[in-house]
């Protein structure tokens, strides 16, 4: 419906002492679904509110389809927003809640409005609730009404601010699918804020990661997962999160070894790897994801490392094996690998799964400046 462009968008609070959003550039294609993630306080909500027109940017612009809407009042933007706490009008019935936007922004007759609301409600499976007040509804039903209300207006841009965070796991999965389906069906451009890993990974066409008001990386979820541009993104995306280890690399240009005194790690890199990557000696931060770590219950000594098991958490399909390699070092292994706490086990991983970050800047050491800059465009 509309392409959304944020151009060096900036928002300061408290006379510039808090920079909530720091010169953000982002373009969302017509009909695209972008999820925005980041830790608490990173500026997600503020960004969304600026797109909706609820917050005035300190500088920068918001455009819909090349039209600058920065100075246009919220009520005139073709935007619908689903709030974290739903913000259903408690004194109106579900029907009135859903019809309200239509009443305000179209000149439909009451009947047309009610017809539209009925259609919407049928689609969302809440046609029986139309005469109820919000506080008679369960969380999931409220969520559906909030969605219905947003969709009923047929907006060009859809904004979601952690819409599922108040729901329980089961409902969350259900609603996730529902939102995606609706968004595709209507072809509406969507921005979706969340701090839930699974939502972030599964819902969007693209994923935007914010930290401290700054955009860190934008890209397809798998792309971001596989090639995080910096330590922050690497640690933030993926659950359980990536293990980090402070290591030293010794290289002579053709061979290289990754060492960590504390855990006794000494991992030789292959010649191919060294040849393919531009590596220097020095301190690095090594990152490796739990699912890329193999646990060998009866270590033969050929493994990369041996370590002691601290705790084993079975989660049904898999086990989380906590190892004493470093603090919070976790391996995810199949359910049939079941060491006991205290066991000595072997630890393996593949050099292809390793990430190396600059301990100072946190950036992936193999990326060039350009590549890093490109990651946010």
């Amino acid at each position: 419906m509309a392409r959304v462009t944020l151009d060096t968008l900036r928002k300061e609070f408290d006379r510039g002492t808090i920079v909530a959003v720091d010169d953000l550039d982002l373009e969302i294609d017509d009909g695209e679904f972008v999820t925005v993630v980041g830790p608490s306080g990173c500026g997600k909500t503020t960004t969304l509110r600026m797109v909706a027109g609820l917050e005035e940017p300190t500088s920068g612009t918001v455009s819909f389809d090349d039209e600058d809407v920065t100075d246009i009042h919220a009520k005139e933007r073709p935007v619908a927003m689903v709030f974290q706490n739903y913000a259903l009008y408690p004194h109106k019935t579900v029907r009135e809640n859903m019809a309200f936007g239509l009443k305000m922004s179209t000149d439909m007759t009451t009947e047309e409005r009610h017809e539209r609301v009925r259609e919407m409600a049928e689609m969302m499976g809440i046609e029986d609730l139309l005469d109820d007040k919000p506080d008679e509804l369960s969380g999931g039903q409220k969520q559906r009404v909030a969605l219905g209300r947003a969709i009923a207006r047929e907006p060009e841009v859809f904004l979601f601010d952690e819409p599922l965070s108040n729901l329980d796991a089961k409902l969350r999965t259900e609603m996730r699918a529902e939102i995606q389906k609706l968004q595709k069906e209507f072809g509406v451009t969507a921005m979706y804020v969340t701090h839930d890993q699974e939502e972030a990974m599964t819902m969007g066409d693209r994923l935007a990661i914010l930290n401290d008001g700054k955009l860190q990386q934008v890209g397809a979820p798998t792309e971001v997962y596989q090639n995080p541009v910096n330590e922050f993104v690497a640690g933030f995306i993926g659950s359980p999160s990536m293990n980090f280890l402070d290591v030293d690399v010794e290289t002579d240009g053709t061979t290289a070894t990754i060492r960590d005194e504390a855990s006794g790690l000494a991992f030789p890199l292959s010649r191919d790897y060294v040849a393919g990557h531009d590596l220097e000696s020095g301190p690095y931060t090594l990152g490796v994801r739990p699912e890329n770590i193999g646990v060998v219950e009866r270590p033969t000594g050929e493994e990369t490392l041996t370590a002691t098991v601290e705790v084993v958490e079975p989660i049904g399909s898999d086990n989380y094996v906590h190892l004493d390699v470093s603090e919070d070092f976790l391996a995810r292994s199949p359910a049939d690998v079941q060491p006991e706490a205290g066991d000595e086990v072997g630890v393996t991983f593949d050099e292809a799964d390793l990430h190396l970050f600059d301990p100072e800047t946190g950036e992936d050491v193999f990326l060039t400046e350009e590549e890093i800059a490109a990651a946010v465009a």
């Binding site: 009520k75 619908a80 709030f83 004194h91 309200f100």
Partner: protein, 360 residues
């Protein structure tokens, strides 16, 4: 909504409230019986111990006794309004002899005092076609003396309510939601002045009178209504602001995103959500205009006296004494409707006056 509609809605709301409360009160004995039956059943089947039930009974009786003690003055004066003669005391006991109870005093209030019509000469409203300044004009027919104090009171109160609400609601909203130059200072000033009310009026009585008479505003019901509104502004603005602070901003934002204009948002979202707060403000502003008599007596001439002044005049009518039965009957007719609405609005009042979020 035009003013007439809102007035009708207001009255209808109050009537509904009173009705439901009274129905609740009327069915209370039935519910009470059910409670007792259950308690008996529970004791018999061993679900509750007798001591447990007894504790509840004792507490309830204690509560009831306390209510009776607290309301004793009102009960006592009501019996006095039914008594014979005009004296408050009788040498035989606290209450007048029940066999002498009669409604004479009330008859006097209705048919002889200036309560409804001057000298109790009742009339009826009549529409006159083709009147002087309009197609239809309105007059009282069937009365020689004209309408009485209750109409003056209602007129004053409607001015107070209209002006009070017109200024309190927008201001409370602005204080709660907007930032503007001087906000803090004005609000601070309001809080300081919340309690400078009744006492102040007496203190500044003469200053007020000279102010009013300088501008030729004495004996003007409209201006008096405005004055009461002014006296109600600080406390009620602050009260309503506090109430509005607890309404999440996201409702307004949702409405904005829904395309509602500012006024739409106020009408469709803010006002409905502020209802309990508005109910309390309504009651307080009403009482400000309804009960005051010192200023009214100073500023008004007899033909414009509201009920409160008439009541005071009855209290001081006798050379050295008060005609108690008439006084009590008059006061009861004057205050009871308000007190009943107040009784019925208890829930709203409790909600609207909730300062629970305040940390001491």
């Amino acid at each position: 909504m035009n003013p007439l509609e809102s007035a009708v809605a207001l009255v209808a709301g109050a009537v509904g409230l009173v009705r439901s409360k009274l129905i609740g009160l009327a069915t209370a004995p039935k519910r009470f019986v059910v409670v007792i039956q259950r308690a008996v059943y529970d004791v018999r089947t061993g679900k509750r111990s007798a001591w447990d039930v007894a504790k509840s009974v004792l507490m309830t009786l204690f509560g009831l006794a306390m209510v009776l003690v607290l309301l004793f003055p009102l009960f006592w004066i009501t019996t006095a309004s039914l008594a014979e003669g005009s004296r408050l005391f009788n040498t035989s006991g606290i209450f007048p002899d029940p066999s002498t109870y009669n409604l004479g005093a009330y008859r006097w209030v209705i048919f002889e005092s200036d309560f409804f019509f001057v000298d109790g000469d009742w009339g009826y409203p009549q529409l006159v076609l083709g009147g002087g300044d309009g197609l239809v004009s309105f007059r009282w027919a069937g009365t020689e003396t004209g309408p009485g104090a209750v109409f003056n009171s209602l007129y004053i109160v409607s001015v107070t309510l209209a002006a009070g609400f017109g200024m309190i609601v927008p201001a409370a909203y602005a204080f709660s939601r907007r930032k503007f130059v001087g906000r803090k200072r004005i609000l601070y000033g309001y809080v300081l002045f919340t309690q400078i009310g009744a006492g102040l009026s007496i203190a500044t009585l003469v200053a007020l009178y000279s102010l009013f008479s300088t501008y030729g505003l004495t004996n003007n019901l409209f201006v008096l209504g405005l004055f009461y509104a002014a006296s109600a502004i600080p406390f009620n603005t602050w009260l309503l602001k506090t109430y509005m602070d607890n309404i999440p901003v996201s409702y307004e934002e949702a409405a904005m995103v829904d395309g509602a204009s500012f006024l739409d948002t106020i009408r469709e979202v803010i006002l409905p959500l502020t209802k309990p707060g508005l109910a309390v403000v309504l009651i307080f502003v009403w009482l400000a205009g309804w009960n005051e008599f010192i200023i009214a007596q100073t500023l008004l001439r007899p033909e414009n006296y509201p009920l409160s002044v008439e009541l005071y005049n009855i209290a001081t009518e006798g050379r050295f004494s008060t005609p108690w039965t008439r006084f009590a009957a008059f006061a009861n007719l004057f205050a009871l409707p308000v007190a009943i609405v107040y009784f019925a609005a208890q829930r709203s009042v409790e909600d609207g006056l909730s300062f629970g979020g305040m940390e001491g």
